[in-house]
Symmetry: none
């Protein structure tokens, strides 16, 4: 099966990241299917028509994203109609669904433009869009070349990632699954606290054991301070595939230990949340330079109210004093960015919230605010379990955003390790 | 000039984000040049050769990234050689540079594989790579079609983003600058508080005035609750180009008014920050369901300490009471997600921070926590200027993340409008 992706959208040619392409590529590769080609083309009918003509003859499945919106530059349906020679009709049900979508939002008369979205290709299957007005369409068509007829398939999917992603998973993946022979499964390990090259060095011997085995693939990818190691295994026997993945995983766990913080969809914050809920513990946060980033991560997951009590963003000195009881002398003698301030912020938030664990962060994110002895990137991170405080000092490099993101990641990883350590302690003392 | 980008790399078809494509697209669009097409193709000679043949005939400049490495699947040089019919030779200087690159890293004998990287296309200009072993190449070639010769240009650039980005800026951008005739400038308008289709409808008459003018282009893009309208104008006279853009902009400002919150690199939060600093005013935030997202946005910009005082994330009822003085009776009678609670949170944060403006948010982000009369997505947003409180009620749709993001956007947009309104009031009373 030759699967080709066409992404329509002028913005994708002028700087916007094509996250749909990587999402679709990844989803298909989990199924063991690979995209053969990705073409990004402007919302211009002429350009789009040329690429579609090429795709029609060279690929057996064409996936199109974008160009289903209500405005003048949304040209996917009419171009597909023209190039495949298939008529369109105005679909009553789709029109009704669009009206209902707007009614939910308190708008009774959708704009005339939205009417354009109810045109459907003849014989196409309409795929409902839960998150937007543009319905998706799926169609089989016949391509004739050298007097030979071939049955091909085309998908018309929306461009906005928040519509595309659920649509792809719910409506398109099942189609490919039904066509699949054999299987490919994969497992991602998430690692924090080690450099990519060190991870590579440590697991190299295991990877080399599979050098001659084409059914087993490894990849390693670093983004910010996090490393992903992916194990992919092909085969026809599901039990054997699972066993192979599991054996390799266990080997990596032996080598990398607690540096692995999760698998597949896990994130640092979901791991921290899970550890807290499992141990029936609560957390609170006092942030300065991270400005709410740690809190917003910890509350981004359903169920966070079970473990997250509160946080304060004490940006000004004044608020550090009034909210967290940081001493005026401490700020004067050591400065807002200091071990002492981080420690008092930690005590302050513990007092305020009565939570079990706490995080405090104070630092210089830049580009301004550096002094002779305090460079941009200097960050103090405090973590505590019931008053057992630890303060770490870091010098992060990069832009303001880099520094804030790294501080957030390191703070979450530090509290994760603290929970693991204190959890084991409790177990040990119970065992006595 | 028709510029086409070909990205070679199997990993880009199986889930890796193509950051090179967005980088190159953005860099060229700053120069007023647009990519006409991006094709992502696997490191397979057959596939790559087909795309290169198409590119050779349809584009005047071809930029290739990837496939210059030392391993077997790096096939760019040999495929270009074959398709363009240009021989290669082993370049002594390049070979020397590769050896020196390894010596710096303490490796005296580069692997035999690295020798492959010293093959250069005849008559190509070698572009040194400061960050890796693969040299880039730039070559003019003649394409003959319908007995007509056309001079075309091809760039062979490395795939790793940390090599590609400096290489592109230092060696490729100057080439395009030297060839530039005339110019293309663009302006982006950012809009909040209107549906995409309504924006389209309102500005349609203006856009239609330019229907026959190929030098003026419009595009419209919605992401989350924000709409971008881009005006792009080509021409040879810079003053005329500027004037055209400015006239269209003024027309759109007349039509869309305060719904336009900024231009080009502006964001909602940077606009709010700028308004606050201009008016020497401060802000504080009390967040519940947004969990720190509003605060982290407002502190994401350098200089935020000039206007951002503090925020609290009062997730639990307990913290709403102790930190913000929300009344126990209010929580019992109306619930944590209610107009009354939003109002008391607003008073609480104003009391605590003594800031001029304040935002409060309380809502149900889901997927749990809904009751019979309070559905998922119900959010109360409070804004205040010195005790003049307004509370708005919303029913947002979508996932937990969608609801939190929409609440954040609407809260920032509401406070922006409040600042505009109160700023004008002060002016009016001064005028009395």
């Amino acid at each position: 099966m030759n699967i080709e992706l066409i992404c329509s959208g002028t913005e994708l040619l002028t700087g916007k990241l094509n996250t749909n392409a990587s999402f679709i590529g990844e989803q298909l590769s989990i199924l063991g299917l690979d995209l053969s080609l990705i073409t990004t083309v402007a919302d211009r009918k002429n350009d789009f028509a040329k690429i579609l003509s090429l795709a029609k003859s060279r690929s057996s499945v064409i996936i199109i994203t974008g160009g289903l919106g209500p405005t003048f530059d949304d040209i996917t349906v009419e171009t597909v109609s023209e190039i495949l020679g298939i008529k369109t009709y105005k679909d009553k049900n789709v029109q009704l669904a669009i009206c209902q979508f707007f009614e939910k939002r308190g708008i009774t008369t959708p704009s005339a433009n939205n009417e354009r979205q109810s045109y459907i290709l003849e014989n196409a299957k309409v795929l409902d869009n839960r998150f937007g007005t543009a319905p998706s369409q799926m169609l089989h068509f016949e391509h004739i070349s050298d007097n030979k007829k071939t049955r091909k398939t085309i998908f018309l999917l929306p461009g906005p990632p928040r519509e595309l992603k659920p649509m792809f998973q719910e409506k398109v993946i099942p189609y490919f699954k039904s066509y699949q022979l054999g299987m490919k499964k994969s497992l991602k390990l998430h690692i924090c606290g080690m450099a990519e090259s060190l991870v590579d060095e440590k697991i190299r011997a295991t990877i080399d054991l599979f050098a001659d085995n084409n059914d087993v693939e490894f990849s390693i990818l670093a983004h910010q301070s996090l490393i992903d190691v992916k194990i992919a295994v092909k085969g026809e026997d599901e039990l054997l595939v699972d066993e192979t993945i599991n054996n390799i995983k266990n080997e990596f766990v032996n080598i990398l230990g607690d540096n692995i913080f999760g698998y597949n969809d896990d994130t640092l914050e979901s791991t921290v949340q899970q550890l807290l809920i499992e141990n029936k513990k609560t957390i609170s946060v006092a942030e300065s330079c991270t400005g709410g980033m740690i809190s917003s991560k910890l509350t981004n997951i359903a169920g966070s109210s079970l473990c997250f009590k509160q946080s304060v963003v004490t940006y000004s000195n004044e608020s550090k004093i009034t909210l967290l009881n940081v001493k005026d002398e401490t700020l004067k003698q050591f400065g807002a960015v200091s071990e002492n301030t981080a420690n008092e912020m930690l005590n302050g938030i513990l007092n305020l919230s009565k939570s079990d664990y706490a995080i405090s962060v104070t630092g210089i994110a830049g580009p301004n605010g550096a002094t002779e002895d305090k460079p941009i990137g200097l960050v103090f991170i405090g973590i505590s379990y019931k008053g057992d405080n630890e303060i770490f000092k870091y010098n992060f490099l990069g832009t303001r955003t880099d520094i804030r993101e790294r501080a957030t990641t390191v703070a979450l990883d530090s509290i994760r390790r603290k929970i693991l350590k204190t959890k084991n302690k409790t177990k040990l003392s119970k065992g006595k």
